[in-house]
C-alpha cells in the first residue's frame, strides 16, 4: 500500500525567511480522505504541493526533511516522474487544461507515461464514468461550467491511476451546485477505488462530513489532527453547526445539520428568548430598479425586476448560478444598459467584480487604494488608512497585491473600490475563496458601512454571510424577483436557510444564539 509520509519536512520559499512548512511529521495511510483546514497563508498549499514534488522542484526554495510516497522520496524524483503515483488538481480549473477537447486532455498524462493504446482507451473510459462526465467528452473545456470543468480536471489527474490525489481548494471557485458535484465525486472515488485523497478547503460545510480525518494548519505546522468533529470544533472556520455544538457543549460536536438536530432532540429544551426583530431605520432610497429588464445577446436575463435599496440597508441577492444576480449588479452599476425599465440612482455606486485581480495594477495595496482616489481626483490619506483598517489590511498595506492570499486579495479588491467613498457598494460574490478571518473582517466592514449610512448590495451563494449581515434578502430566479423581504423571513421559508436556522429556528447565526445564551444565563 502506498502511504504518504512527511518526515520533519521543512520548507521556505525563495526570498523568504518564514517557514512555509515547519517540521511537519505526518503519515497518511492508503485510502484515507484527509481534509486540510487552516487560514490563508498557513501552509496548506505548500503541504499539498510537497506531496507531488512541485515543492520544492517547481517552486525553488529551501527544503529539509523528507516526503515519501510509497518508497519514493520527492527529494530524488521530479514531479513529472511522480505523475503516475500522485495526481494534482489546481484551485483554478481554467488553468489546468492542455488540449481543447476533454477526452484528449484526460489522455494527456497517459500519453506522457507512454501507455499502450488499449490501456489508454480503457483508462479514459473508466475515468469518464467514475466522474460522470462521459457526456462532456467531446466538449471544449472553455465551454464548460465551473463544476464540470473541475470534474474534468480531476479526471485528467486521475486517469493515470494515482494512489494519492491531491486537491488544492478544488471548490473555492465554484458555485454550491458545482462544489457539491465535485465533493460527491471525490467521496465516490475514495470509496470505490480506494484512492487516498488529500483535500484543502476553506468552506467546510460540505467537505467536513465526507472526511475521515482532518488537519488544521497554523503557520506552517499541524496544530490539530484527528476526527473531523473533534478537530474542527475549536477552529474558527468550522461549519456553523459545529460551532453551535461547541457553544452549547454537545459532544461529539456535530458536522451535519442532521447530527445537530439529534442533539437538540436529545437535550433538554433550551429556554432561550427568541431574538427580537431589530427595527431598521433605513433612510431614503439610494438606488432603485423599476421594471428593469436586461439581455445577454438574445437571451432575456432579467425581466421586470423591481428593487429598492435604501440608505443604510444591506441587501443580499440570492439565486442559483445564471439566475441574473451578476447582471442585476452590473446594470445597477451602469456597466450594462437595461433593455427596458430604468435604474434610478440617487447616489454614486461602486462595483467590486467577482475577480478582484482584474483591478490590481499598483505595486502595493496602499498604492492601489491611493490610485482609486487619484482617479476620482481626490486626495485624502485618512480614507485610505480607515479602509485598510476596516478590512484588516493594515499589516498587508506594503505588500504587492498579487502576493496576498485569496481572502486578502478579495478584501484588498473591496478596499480599493470602496475607498472612493461611493455610498452604494455593489459586491459580487465577495466571499469566494475566503478564509474565516477574512469573512469576519468583510462582515464587520459591511456592518460599518451600513451603520454610517451607506448601502450594500451583495450577490452571494454564501447564505451564512447573508444571514450575518443582510437586512433584506432578495431571491432571484427565472429573471425576476422570487422573494423579497427581511432576511429572517426570506431565509426561514426557503431551502436557502443557513445551518443554524435549520437546527434552532428562528436563530440565524451562532452569534445570535450566543447572545441569547448570555441573556438567559444572566437572567437566572
Amino acid at each position: 500500500m502506498t502511504d504518504l509520509v512527511y518526515e520533519a519536512a521543512r520548507f521556505s520559499y525563495p526570498e523568504s525567511d518564514a517557514a512555509a512548512l515547519d517540521c511537519v511529521d505526518l503519515r497518511i495511510g492508503a485510502g484515507e480522505l484527509v481534509l486540510v483546514a487552516g487560514g490563508s497563508g498557513t501552509g496548506k498549499s505548500t503541504l499539498l504541493r510537497a506531496a507531488c514534488g512541485l515543492v520544492p522542484h517547481a517552486s525553488g526554495g529551501r527544503f529539509g526533511g523528507d516526503v515519501r510516497v510509497g518508497c519514493r522520496s520527492t527529494r530524488d524524483v521530479m514531479p513529472r516522474d511522480l505523475a503516475g503515483t500522485v495526481g494534482f488538481v489546481h484551485q483554478d480549473p481554467e488553468a489546468a487544461f492542455v488540449v481543447d477537447r476533454v477526452e484528449n486532455d484526460i489522455a494527456f498524462v497517459l500519453e506522457n507515461l507512454g501507455l499502450d493504446a488499449a490501456s489508454m482507451r480503457r483508462r479514459v473510459e473508466e475515468v469518464l464514468d467514475a466522474l460522470d462526465i462521459a457526456a462532456l467528452r467531446n466538449r471544449a473545456p472553455s465551454s464548460l461550467s465551473g463544476g464540470e470543468r473541475q470534474r474534468c480536471a480531476i479526471a485528467a489527474a486521475l486517469s493515470a491511476g494515482p494512489a494519492v490525489l491531491v486537491l488544492d481548494e478544488p471548490t473555492s471557485q465554484l458555485d454550491p451546485q458545482g462544489a457539491e458535484d465535485v465533493l460527491a465525486a471525490l467521496s465516490r472515488l475514495n470509496h470505490d477505488l480506494g484512492t487516498t485523497v488529500l483535500l484543502a478547503e476553506h468552506r467546510l460545510d460540505r467537505a467536513a462530513p465526507l472526511a475521515d480525518r482532518a488537519l488544521v494548519m497554523e503557520s506552517g505546522s499541524i496544530a490539530a489532527d484527528g476526527e473531523p468533529g473533534a478537530v474542527l470544533a475549536g477552529y474558527a472556520g468550522a461549519p456553523a453547526v459545529t460551532r453551535l455544538g461547541q457553544l452549547l457543549g454537545w459532544t461529539p460536536p456535530p458536522l451535519t445539520v442532521k447530527a445537530a438536530r439529534a442533539h437538540v432532540a436529545a437535550a433538554d429544551p433550551l429556554a432561550l428568548a427568541t431574538p427580537a426583530p431589530v427595527p431598521h431605520q433605513h433612510g431614503d432610497v439610494a438606488i432603485a430598479a423599476r421594471r428593469l429588464g436586461a439581455r445577454a445577446g438574445q437571451t432575456v436575463v432579467l425581466d421586470d425586476v423591481d428593487l429598492e435599496v435604501r440608505e443604510g440597508e444591506v441587501v443580499a441577492l440570492l439565486g442559483r448560478n445564471g439566475s441574473g444576480k451578476t447582471t442585476l449588479l452590473r446594470t445597477l452599476a451602469g456597466l450594462a444598459g437595461p433593455s427596458h425599465g430604468k435604474v434610478e440612482r440617487h447616489a454614486r455606486t461602486a462595483y467590486v467584480p467577482q475577480d478582484p485581480d482584474l483591478i490590481f495594477s499598483a505595486p502595493t495595496v496602499r498604492a492601489e487604494l491611493e490610485a482609486t482616489l487619484r482617479l476620482l481626483g481626490r486626495r485624502d490619506a485618512d480614507a485610505v488608512d480607515s479602509w485598510l483598517a476596516r478590512l484588516g489590511l493594515t499589516s498587508a498595506a506594503q505588500r504587492h497585491p498579487r502576493s496576498l492570499s485569496g481572502g486578502e486579495r478579495q478584501r484588498a479588491g473591496v478596499a480599493a473600490v470602496a475607498v472612493g467613498g461611493a455610498p452604494v457598494l455593489l459586491l459580487d460574490e465577495p466571499t469566494r475563496g475566503m478564509d474565516a478571518p477574512s469573512r469576519d473582517a468583510l462582515a464587520a466592514c459591511i456592518g460599518d458601512h451600513s451603520a454610517s449610512g451607506g448601502s450594500v448590495v451583495l450577490a452571494t451563494h454564501d447564505v451564512e454571510l447573508a444571514a450575518r449581515v443582510a437586512h433584506t434578502a432578495v431571491v432571484i430566479g427565472g429573471g425576476d424577483v422570487v422573494a423579497n423581504g427581511t432576511a429572517r423571513d426570506v431565509l426561514s421559508g426557503s431551502l436557502f436557510a443557513p445551518q443554524v436556522l435549520r437546527v434552532l429556528p428562528p436563530f440565524l447565526t451562532v452569534d445570535e444564539v450566543a447572545g441569547a445564551v448570555t441573556t438567559a444565563e444572566a437572567g437566572t
Binding site: 514531479p79 481543447d100 501507455l115 462521459a134 458536522l255 452599476a333 483591478i359
Partner: protein, 381 residues
Amino acid sequence: MGAVRRERLHALTWATWALAALVCVQLAPNPLYVVIVVAISFLIVEVHGGRSPLARAFPYLVLLSLGFVVVKVVINGLTVHADGAGLFVLPSFTVPSWLGGYPVGGPVETAVVLRAATEGFVVVGVVAAFAAFNAVVSHYELVQMAPRAFHEPGLVVVVALAFVPSVVGAALAVREADRARTGGVVVRRGRLVRLAVPVLERGMEKALALAESMDARGFGRASAGSAERVAAWCGVAALGALAAAFLALLGQARTVGFALGGVAAVLLASAIVAASRASTRTRYRPRRPRTADWLVIAACLAAPALLAYLRATTPALLLWDLSPPLRAPAFAPLAAVAFALLLAPVAVPVSGPDPWSVPAVPARPGPEPEPEPEPEPEAVR
C-alpha cells in the same frame, strides 16, 4: 447528447487545403481571384468553424489585413512615382536628406495605387486562408501528426494559441472593472497601464499554474538517454555541415557546397528520427484520414496543379496587366473552376454538436431555489 463525436476533417486535410489555397493565391495574384479565396475561406469557417474562439476571430483578422492594404496603398501612392497617368496631384515636399531625401506627395498615379492594392490583396488572401485554417483545424491533432521529436515544441505553440482567447476575455473584463472602480467615470490618464498590468500579471499566473499542472501530469518526462545523445550529436554535426556548405558556396566551390548541404540534410533527418525514437510518448486514439478526407485532399491538390498549368501556358489569364491602357482584370472560367475545387471541404457534411457551444438547456434542471447544501453522510457513504 454530447457523447456524439463531431465528425471533422482530419488535420492533414486542412493542412493540405491551406497549403493549396496559399499556392493558388500566389499563382493567380489577381484581385478577382483573391476575392474568391476570401469568400471560400469565409464559407469554410461558417460551415466547419463552429463557435471556436479562433473562428470568431476570423472576421477581425481579415479586417486587420484590409487595414494593412489601406496603409500600403497610401504609402505607395505618396512615395512611388513612375511618370504614369495621375489620379490627382497633392502638394509635394521632400523629406530631409538624413531620412532618405525622397519626394512625398505630388502626383498620385493610377498604376501605382492599383499595383499596391493588388499586392496588398494577395496578403488579404493569404491571411484569410491562414485564419480559416486555424479556425477549423484541431491544433492538437496537427501536433500529433508531426514527428514525435517535434511534439513538445509543437504542444507549447498549441498551448500558447489557446491562451489568446482567454487573454482577450481578460482584457474585456479588466476594462469593465476599471470603469466600475470609479462608478462609471472613465479616466484616460494612465489607463493603458491600469489595463495592461492586470492582464499581463494574470496571464503570468495562469501560465505558472498551467506549468505546474503539466509538470504534475508527466509532461517532459526523462526519455531514453543514449538515443537522445545520438540525436543531439547528429543535430550538431548537421549544423556544422550547413555552415561548411555556406562557406563553400561563398568561395564558389559549388560541388563541395551542394555535397555538404546534402550531408547536412541527411544528418538532420537522422537527428529527427533518433529523437523521435527516444521519445517514449504514445498517442491516444490517433485518427486516420477517411475517404472523404482523401477526396478533399485530391480536390485541393488539383486546384494549384490546374492553376500552375494555366500560369505556364497563358499567364495573361491569371495576372492583371497594369500597363496602360488600363483594362479590367482578366477572369478565366477555367481558373474559377480551379478555385472552386478549394470549396471541396464545404461539401463534406458536418454532423454532431459543436464542442465549443454551451448547450442552451442546462444539463440538469435544478430545483427552483438552489438548496443550501446540507451534507447527508448516509447518502454518500
